[in-house]
Protein backbone atom coordinates (compact mmCIF):
# COMPACT_ATOMS: atom_id res chain seq x y z
CA UNK A 1 0.00 0.00 0.00
CA UNK A 2 1.14 3.51 -0.68
CA UNK A 3 -0.85 5.82 1.56
CA UNK A 4 -3.03 4.04 4.09
CA UNK A 5 -6.28 5.90 4.53
CA UNK A 6 -5.83 6.77 8.16
CA UNK A 7 -7.21 10.10 9.24
CA UNK A 8 -7.63 11.63 5.78
CA UNK A 9 -9.84 10.59 2.88
CA UNK A 10 -8.55 9.56 -0.54
CA UNK A 11 -8.49 12.40 -3.13
CA UNK A 12 -11.84 12.51 -4.91
CA UNK A 13 -12.35 10.59 -8.13
CA UNK A 14 -9.41 8.26 -7.65
CA UNK A 15 -9.72 4.57 -7.11
CA UNK A 16 -6.62 2.83 -5.87
CA UNK A 17 -4.72 0.89 -8.55
CA UNK A 18 -6.30 -2.56 -8.83
CA UNK A 19 -4.30 -5.33 -7.26
CA UNK A 20 -3.92 -7.31 -10.50
CA UNK A 21 -0.24 -7.59 -11.26
CA UNK A 22 1.02 -6.20 -14.56
CA UNK A 23 1.90 -8.64 -17.29
CA UNK A 24 4.72 -8.22 -19.77
CA UNK A 25 2.46 -6.53 -22.34
CA UNK A 26 1.26 -3.94 -19.83
CA UNK A 27 4.83 -3.19 -18.82
CA UNK A 28 5.85 -2.69 -22.43
CA UNK A 29 2.92 -0.36 -23.00
CA UNK A 30 3.95 1.69 -19.97
CA UNK A 31 7.57 1.79 -21.11
CA UNK A 32 6.57 2.97 -24.57
CA UNK A 33 4.20 5.68 -23.30
CA UNK A 34 6.70 6.91 -20.71
CA UNK A 35 9.15 7.30 -23.57
CA UNK A 36 6.67 9.04 -25.90
CA UNK A 37 3.16 9.68 -24.63
CA UNK A 38 2.09 11.15 -27.95
CA UNK A 39 2.82 8.18 -30.18
CA UNK A 40 -0.22 6.92 -32.05
CA UNK A 41 -2.03 3.84 -30.87
CA UNK A 42 -0.92 2.08 -34.02
CA UNK A 43 2.75 2.83 -33.33
CA UNK A 44 2.26 1.67 -29.76
CA UNK A 45 0.70 -1.59 -30.92
CA UNK A 46 3.54 -2.26 -33.30
CA UNK A 47 6.17 -1.45 -30.69
CA UNK A 48 4.56 -3.76 -28.16
CA UNK A 49 3.73 -6.49 -30.68
CA UNK A 50 -0.06 -6.58 -30.36
CA UNK A 51 -3.06 -5.56 -32.46
CA UNK A 52 -4.08 -1.88 -32.36
CA UNK A 53 -7.45 -2.71 -30.82
CA UNK A 54 -5.71 -4.64 -28.06
CA UNK A 55 -3.30 -1.79 -27.46
CA UNK A 56 -6.21 0.59 -27.16
CA UNK A 57 -8.06 -1.64 -24.71
CA UNK A 58 -4.98 -2.24 -22.59
CA UNK A 59 -4.02 1.42 -22.46
CA UNK A 60 -7.54 2.41 -21.48
CA UNK A 61 -7.59 -0.25 -18.78
CA UNK A 62 -4.27 0.98 -17.40
CA UNK A 63 -5.72 4.48 -17.11
CA UNK A 64 -8.96 3.25 -15.57
CA UNK A 65 -7.08 1.15 -13.04
CA UNK A 66 -5.11 4.23 -12.02
CA UNK A 67 -1.81 2.74 -13.14
CA UNK A 68 -1.35 5.42 -15.77
CA UNK A 69 -2.11 8.63 -13.88
CA UNK A 70 -1.75 11.09 -16.75
CA UNK A 71 0.13 12.21 -19.84
CA UNK A 72 2.20 15.38 -19.71
CA UNK A 73 4.34 17.52 -21.95
CA UNK A 74 7.75 18.34 -20.52
CA UNK A 75 8.92 21.89 -21.18
CA UNK A 76 12.28 23.61 -21.11
CA UNK A 77 12.25 25.70 -17.94
CA UNK A 78 14.50 28.43 -19.32
CA UNK A 79 12.19 28.88 -22.30
CA UNK A 80 9.28 29.71 -20.04
CA UNK A 81 11.25 32.18 -17.95
CA UNK A 82 12.21 29.89 -15.07
CA UNK A 83 15.90 29.26 -15.45
CA UNK A 84 16.71 29.21 -11.73
CA UNK A 85 15.83 26.05 -9.83
CA UNK A 86 16.12 25.56 -6.09
CA UNK A 87 15.43 23.00 -3.40
CA UNK A 88 14.08 24.44 -0.17
CA UNK A 89 13.98 22.33 2.95
CA UNK A 90 11.30 23.40 5.39
CA UNK A 91 10.96 22.59 9.08
CA UNK A 92 7.66 23.49 10.63
CA UNK A 93 7.45 25.06 14.03
CA UNK A 94 4.06 24.12 15.42
CA UNK A 95 2.74 20.62 15.31
CA UNK A 96 -0.87 21.68 15.36
CA UNK A 97 -2.67 19.54 12.80
CA UNK A 98 -4.82 22.32 11.35
CA UNK A 99 -1.87 24.62 10.81
CA UNK A 100 0.08 21.84 9.14
CA UNK A 101 -2.90 21.08 6.91
CA UNK A 102 -3.16 24.74 5.95
CA UNK A 103 0.51 24.76 4.98
CA UNK A 104 0.15 21.50 3.04
CA UNK A 105 -2.84 22.84 1.14
CA UNK A 106 -1.25 26.21 0.31
CA UNK A 107 2.44 25.76 -0.42
CA UNK A 108 2.44 22.94 -3.03
CA UNK A 109 0.10 25.04 -5.21
CA UNK A 110 2.20 28.22 -5.21
CA UNK A 111 3.38 29.48 -8.60
CA UNK A 112 6.79 28.06 -9.42
CA UNK A 113 6.49 24.91 -7.33
CA UNK A 114 7.41 21.86 -9.42
CA UNK A 115 7.03 19.32 -6.62
CA UNK A 116 6.69 19.11 -2.86
CA UNK A 117 8.17 16.20 -0.94
CA UNK A 118 6.67 15.42 2.43
CA UNK A 119 9.53 13.77 4.26
CA UNK A 120 10.48 11.93 7.41
CA UNK A 121 13.40 13.05 9.53
CA UNK A 122 14.66 16.46 10.57
CA UNK A 123 13.09 18.26 7.59
CA UNK A 124 9.31 18.18 7.13
CA UNK A 125 9.05 19.27 3.49
CA UNK A 126 11.37 19.71 0.57
CA UNK A 127 10.17 22.08 -2.14
CA UNK A 128 11.50 21.94 -5.69
CA UNK A 129 10.82 25.30 -7.28
CA UNK A 130 11.74 27.14 -10.48
CA UNK A 131 11.84 30.93 -10.77
CA UNK A 132 13.20 33.53 -13.15
CA UNK A 133 16.21 34.79 -11.25
CA UNK A 134 18.01 34.63 -7.93
CA UNK A 135 16.28 37.87 -6.92
CA UNK A 136 12.93 36.22 -7.52
CA UNK A 137 14.12 33.24 -5.49
CA UNK A 138 14.94 35.43 -2.52
CA UNK A 139 11.55 37.16 -2.76
CA UNK A 140 9.75 33.84 -3.19
CA UNK A 141 11.16 32.48 0.04
CA UNK A 142 10.53 35.72 1.92
CA UNK A 143 6.97 36.12 0.66
CA UNK A 144 5.80 32.52 0.86
CA UNK A 145 7.72 30.89 3.67
CA UNK A 146 9.62 33.26 5.92
CA UNK A 147 6.45 35.19 6.73
CA UNK A 148 4.40 32.09 7.60
CA UNK A 149 4.25 31.61 11.38
CA UNK A 150 4.05 27.82 11.03
CA UNK A 151 7.43 27.73 9.28
CA UNK A 152 10.25 27.23 11.72
CA UNK A 153 13.31 27.08 9.50
CA UNK A 154 14.11 26.99 5.80
CA UNK A 155 17.26 26.27 3.87
CA UNK A 156 17.57 27.11 0.19
CA UNK A 157 19.93 25.25 -2.11
CA UNK A 158 20.49 26.17 -5.74
CA UNK A 159 20.10 23.42 -8.33
CA UNK A 160 22.77 23.51 -11.01
CA UNK A 161 21.13 20.76 -13.00
CA UNK A 162 18.26 18.32 -12.75
CA UNK A 163 19.08 15.05 -14.49
CA UNK A 164 16.11 12.83 -15.29
CA UNK A 165 16.53 9.20 -14.28
CA UNK A 166 15.71 6.00 -16.16
CA UNK A 167 12.19 6.06 -14.74
CA UNK A 168 10.31 3.77 -12.42
CA UNK A 169 10.00 0.59 -14.46
CA UNK A 170 11.94 -2.49 -13.34
CA UNK A 171 15.21 -2.67 -15.27
Amino acid sequence: MTTPSIGRPHPAGQHPPSGEPLDEVDRRILAALIEDARMTNKQLAEMVGIAPSTALMRTRALSERGIITGFEAKVDLAAVGRSVQALISVRLRAHDRDQIDAFTARVPQLAGVLATFHTSGAVDYLLHIAVGSTEELRDWVLDNLATDPVVGHTETTLVFERIPGPGPLPA
Copy 2:
Protein backbone atom coordinates in the same frame (compact mmCIF):
# COMPACT_ATOMS: atom_id res chain seq x y z
CA MET B 1 21.41 31.07 -20.55
CA THR B 2 20.81 27.83 -18.74
CA THR B 3 24.03 25.87 -18.87
CA PRO B 4 26.96 27.80 -20.29
CA SER B 5 29.06 25.55 -22.50
CA ILE B 6 32.23 25.84 -20.51
CA GLY B 7 34.36 22.74 -20.29
CA ARG B 8 31.71 20.22 -21.45
CA PRO B 9 29.94 19.84 -24.77
CA HIS B 10 26.18 20.10 -25.20
CA PRO B 11 24.35 16.75 -25.22
CA ALA B 12 24.14 15.44 -28.79
CA GLY B 13 21.10 16.19 -30.90
CA GLN B 14 19.91 19.11 -28.84
CA HIS B 15 19.83 22.65 -30.00
CA PRO B 16 19.30 25.29 -27.33
CA PRO B 17 15.76 26.72 -27.20
CA SER B 18 15.56 29.53 -29.72
CA GLY B 19 15.57 32.99 -28.20
CA GLU B 20 12.21 33.97 -29.70
CA PRO B 21 9.88 34.75 -26.84
CA LEU B 22 6.66 32.75 -26.55
CA ASP B 23 3.43 34.41 -27.56
CA GLU B 24 0.08 33.86 -25.90
CA VAL B 25 -0.89 31.06 -28.33
CA ASP B 26 2.32 29.14 -27.62
CA ARG B 27 1.74 29.43 -23.90
CA ARG B 28 -1.77 28.13 -24.20
CA ILE B 29 -0.57 25.18 -26.27
CA LEU B 30 2.01 24.37 -23.61
CA ALA B 31 -0.55 24.65 -20.83
CA ALA B 32 -2.95 22.33 -22.66
CA LEU B 33 -0.30 19.70 -23.44
CA ILE B 34 1.12 19.80 -19.91
CA GLU B 35 -2.40 19.08 -18.71
CA ASP B 36 -3.03 16.29 -21.24
CA ALA B 37 -0.28 15.36 -23.66
CA ARG B 38 -2.47 12.81 -25.41
CA MET B 39 -5.31 15.09 -26.47
CA THR B 40 -5.90 15.10 -30.22
CA ASN B 41 -4.59 17.95 -32.30
CA LYS B 42 -8.15 18.91 -33.08
CA GLN B 43 -9.03 19.20 -29.38
CA LEU B 44 -5.87 21.20 -28.82
CA ALA B 45 -6.77 23.58 -31.65
CA GLU B 46 -10.24 24.12 -30.27
CA MET B 47 -8.98 24.64 -26.74
CA VAL B 48 -6.44 27.21 -27.92
CA GLY B 49 -8.76 28.86 -30.46
CA ILE B 50 -6.81 28.24 -33.68
CA ALA B 51 -7.17 26.02 -36.75
CA PRO B 52 -5.95 22.42 -36.46
CA SER B 53 -3.30 23.01 -39.10
CA THR B 54 -1.98 25.95 -37.11
CA ALA B 55 -2.00 23.97 -33.88
CA LEU B 56 0.03 21.25 -35.57
CA MET B 57 2.55 23.72 -36.94
CA ARG B 58 2.95 25.51 -33.61
CA THR B 59 3.31 22.31 -31.61
CA ARG B 60 5.90 21.01 -34.02
CA ALA B 61 7.80 24.28 -33.86
CA LEU B 62 7.79 24.17 -30.06
CA SER B 63 9.32 20.69 -30.16
CA GLU B 64 11.87 21.65 -32.80
CA ARG B 65 12.90 24.73 -30.84
CA GLY B 66 13.47 22.53 -27.79
CA ILE B 67 10.77 24.26 -25.76
CA ILE B 68 8.75 21.07 -25.55
CA THR B 69 11.33 18.46 -24.55
CA GLY B 70 9.08 15.40 -24.60
CA PHE B 71 5.74 13.83 -23.78
CA GLU B 72 5.56 11.32 -20.99
CA ALA B 73 3.05 9.02 -19.32
CA LYS B 74 2.97 9.29 -15.53
CA VAL B 75 2.57 5.98 -13.73
CA ASP B 76 1.51 5.03 -10.23
CA LEU B 77 4.72 3.99 -8.47
CA ALA B 78 3.05 1.42 -6.22
CA ALA B 79 1.51 -0.30 -9.23
CA VAL B 80 4.94 -0.95 -10.71
CA GLY B 81 6.38 -2.27 -7.47
CA ARG B 82 8.05 0.90 -6.24
CA SER B 83 6.01 2.07 -3.30
CA VAL B 84 8.92 3.36 -1.23
CA GLN B 85 10.41 6.71 -2.22
CA ALA B 86 13.47 8.33 -0.72
CA LEU B 87 15.67 11.38 -1.08
CA ILE B 88 19.37 10.72 -0.66
CA SER B 89 21.78 13.59 -0.21
CA VAL B 90 25.29 12.80 -1.34
CA ARG B 91 28.53 14.56 -0.53
CA LEU B 92 31.50 13.55 -2.60
CA ARG B 93 34.92 13.03 -1.07
CA ALA B 94 37.41 13.66 -3.83
CA HIS B 95 37.21 16.66 -6.06
CA ASP B 96 39.01 14.99 -8.90
CA ARG B 97 37.15 15.90 -12.07
CA ASP B 98 37.30 12.46 -13.67
CA GLN B 99 35.96 10.71 -10.59
CA ILE B 100 33.14 13.21 -10.31
CA ASP B 101 32.33 12.73 -13.98
CA ALA B 102 32.26 8.97 -13.50
CA PHE B 103 29.83 9.36 -10.61
CA THR B 104 27.67 11.78 -12.61
CA ALA B 105 27.55 9.40 -15.55
CA ARG B 106 26.76 6.33 -13.48
CA VAL B 107 24.44 7.22 -10.63
CA PRO B 108 21.61 9.10 -12.41
CA GLN B 109 21.09 6.06 -14.67
CA LEU B 110 20.78 3.46 -11.91
CA ALA B 111 17.51 1.52 -11.76
CA GLY B 112 15.05 3.26 -9.46
CA VAL B 113 16.42 6.78 -9.86
CA LEU B 114 13.62 9.20 -10.72
CA ALA B 115 15.77 12.32 -10.75
CA THR B 116 19.20 13.56 -9.73
CA PHE B 117 19.69 17.12 -8.56
CA HIS B 118 23.18 18.55 -8.85
CA THR B 119 23.24 21.16 -6.13
CA SER B 120 25.27 23.98 -4.66
CA GLY B 121 26.09 24.12 -0.99
CA ALA B 122 27.08 21.45 1.53
CA VAL B 123 25.48 18.61 -0.45
CA ASP B 124 26.70 17.83 -3.97
CA TYR B 125 23.82 15.68 -5.25
CA LEU B 126 20.31 14.87 -4.14
CA LEU B 127 18.87 11.63 -5.53
CA HIS B 128 15.16 10.97 -5.71
CA ILE B 129 14.65 7.23 -5.91
CA ALA B 130 11.80 4.73 -5.74
CA VAL B 131 12.20 1.12 -4.67
CA GLY B 132 10.00 -1.75 -3.59
CA SER B 133 10.63 -1.84 0.15
CA THR B 134 12.74 -0.37 2.92
CA GLU B 135 15.00 -3.43 2.71
CA GLU B 136 15.60 -2.69 -0.95
CA LEU B 137 16.31 0.92 -0.03
CA ARG B 138 19.00 -0.12 2.44
CA ASP B 139 20.57 -2.44 -0.14
CA TRP B 140 20.35 0.20 -2.87
CA VAL B 141 22.34 2.69 -0.81
CA LEU B 142 24.87 0.09 0.27
CA ASP B 143 25.37 -1.33 -3.22
CA ASN B 144 25.37 1.87 -5.22
CA LEU B 145 26.71 4.59 -2.97
CA ALA B 146 28.35 3.38 0.22
CA THR B 147 30.79 1.21 -1.71
CA ASP B 148 31.86 3.99 -4.10
CA PRO B 149 35.17 5.53 -2.96
CA VAL B 150 34.23 8.94 -4.39
CA VAL B 151 31.20 9.15 -2.08
CA GLY B 152 32.03 10.88 1.16
CA HIS B 153 28.73 10.93 3.00
CA THR B 154 25.09 10.10 2.33
CA GLU B 155 21.91 10.79 4.18
CA THR B 156 18.68 8.99 3.34
CA THR B 157 15.28 10.49 4.02
CA LEU B 158 12.01 8.67 3.44
CA VAL B 159 9.38 10.43 1.32
CA PHE B 160 5.87 10.04 2.72
CA GLU B 161 4.32 11.75 -0.28
CA ARG B 162 5.33 13.57 -3.44
CA ILE B 163 2.81 16.28 -4.29
CA PRO B 164 2.99 17.56 -7.87
CA GLY B 165 3.02 21.35 -8.19
CA PRO B 166 1.11 23.65 -10.52
CA GLY B 167 3.87 23.36 -13.11
CA PRO B 168 6.29 25.85 -14.57
CA LEU B 169 4.03 28.16 -16.54
CA PRO B 170 3.61 31.73 -15.31
CA ALA B 171 0.48 31.94 -13.18
